[in-house]
Subunit: 238 residues, 2 copies
């Protein structure tokens, strides 16, 4: 685990929120939204054996640029579970047709990943006294991932109320998913409005050094988002 | 992560189940029950920064003695979250009154621990194609832990059906908690019936070397269970 210590600033008097921060376009936008909603943002990233660990450097840059109170990177041992192109020796698909990409669950799906990540966020929220968790899931771009659906988030919120000391004592926890029903272009426009520097973010599943491959599902969706938003794409493609 | 490879035996044709195995009295009994119910048992333990890591050696002994198909120990980074006497620098309570012990949430409660452990089990179950997860939670002995209640387990089962590829495809997952409404004495009797060697297990929160302290909540409940069951207590107390 790595961490940036919390500075003693006025932001410490705002209500705390845990913000899941991958370092990609979506979660950077979510962090900006959480800040606009006047939360003291405790950013949480995971090193889970992903091929694209370069995103963790992006997460640190984004957390700093967007004024997170602190940023933690939890080590999560998912490699032994296998079953995903993001953590096991399965090829990342390239150049897929965007129209059919979301029809079924892709091989980049990591089993129970959002359940695990939200569980860590829940544990941290309980210790911080936070009653809000922000997550950048989205039903349109990732509709093939079962754990990105609104009914999954509602089920986790219900679980959280039963699972924790705070919940038992009547303090409900809310899962905020502000991107849930936005297209990628709408997300980009929202981020631009909030001053997010997307040049700091990293979305590629299969980077070439620090550069994006430009051909995986994530790169293709990102490119399309900038194009449709009419915003110049700051991504460096390899 | 450590693992014992799966042997090629007849047990591989039984339906697989993930069995959460701490190495304590309860989870050893659960493993014996899962085996009796004709599951091929994939035992899962966690190294999560607990003071009582000696229980992992007990888990390995138990998995072997009770015929688990394989045993994995996942590394789970909980120490940075803090908030519990089991993982942080908070004293483990000793010599508490058993009658009042369960009235509120004890400091040995680890925030969201069962949520996290079940999430790992869910991820593994998905990759194994298992539709059953066994967990040794109990409403009586641990009624102060919010994540040991039946409504929590029901909420997790609901979440699991929404969170996974198998759930999306209609294959429901069941959380089995066969000890849920048994007293510690009833658990001991059930284990004895199934041939569990409780001398292999470890329950103490604050062991002295390999020996149990005899005074933490877990030791006190265990002692009482053996006494009420009329079964000799094989535990070595320090």
């Amino acid at each position: 685990m790595t961490t940036t210590p919390a500075p003693a600033t006025a932001s410490n008097v705002l209500p705390p929120a845990v913000v899941l921060l991958s370092g990609g376009l979506d979660s950077a936008t979510v962090l900006a939204i959480a800040r606009e909603r006047k939360f003291a943002c405790h950013a949480l990233s995971f090193r889970y054996g992903q091929r694209h660990a370069v995103e963790l450097a992006a997460a640190a840059r984004v957390a700093s640029a967007l004024g997170a109170v602190q940023h933690r990177v939890a080590e999560v041992d998912l490699g032994w579970i296998g079953g995903s192109a993001l953590t096991a020796d399965i090829a990342v698909p390239k150049d897929r047709d965007l129209a059919t990409m979301t029809a079924d669950i892709p091989v980049t799906y990591v089993p129970a990943r959002n359940t695990l990540f939200l569980s860590y966020a829940l544990a941290w929220a309980e210790v911080l006294g936070a009653r809000a968790i922000f997550i950048g899931v989205n039903v349109y771009d990732y509709s093939g991932y079962p754990d990105c659906r609104p009914e999954f988030l509602a089920a986790f919120e219900h679980l959280a109320r039963l699972a924790t000391r705070a919940g038992v004592e009547g303090a409900a926890l809310t899962i905020h998913a502000p991107l849930l029903k936005l297209t990628k272009a709408e997300i980009v426009r929202e981020g631009v409005r909030l001053g997010v520097d997307y040049g700091l973010t990293h979305s590629c599943y299969d980077p070439i050094g620090d550069a994006a491959c430009g051909r995986c599902d994530s790169c293709l969706l990102r490119k399309k988002g900038f194009a449709e938003a009419g915003v110049p794409d700051p991504t460096r493609y390899g």
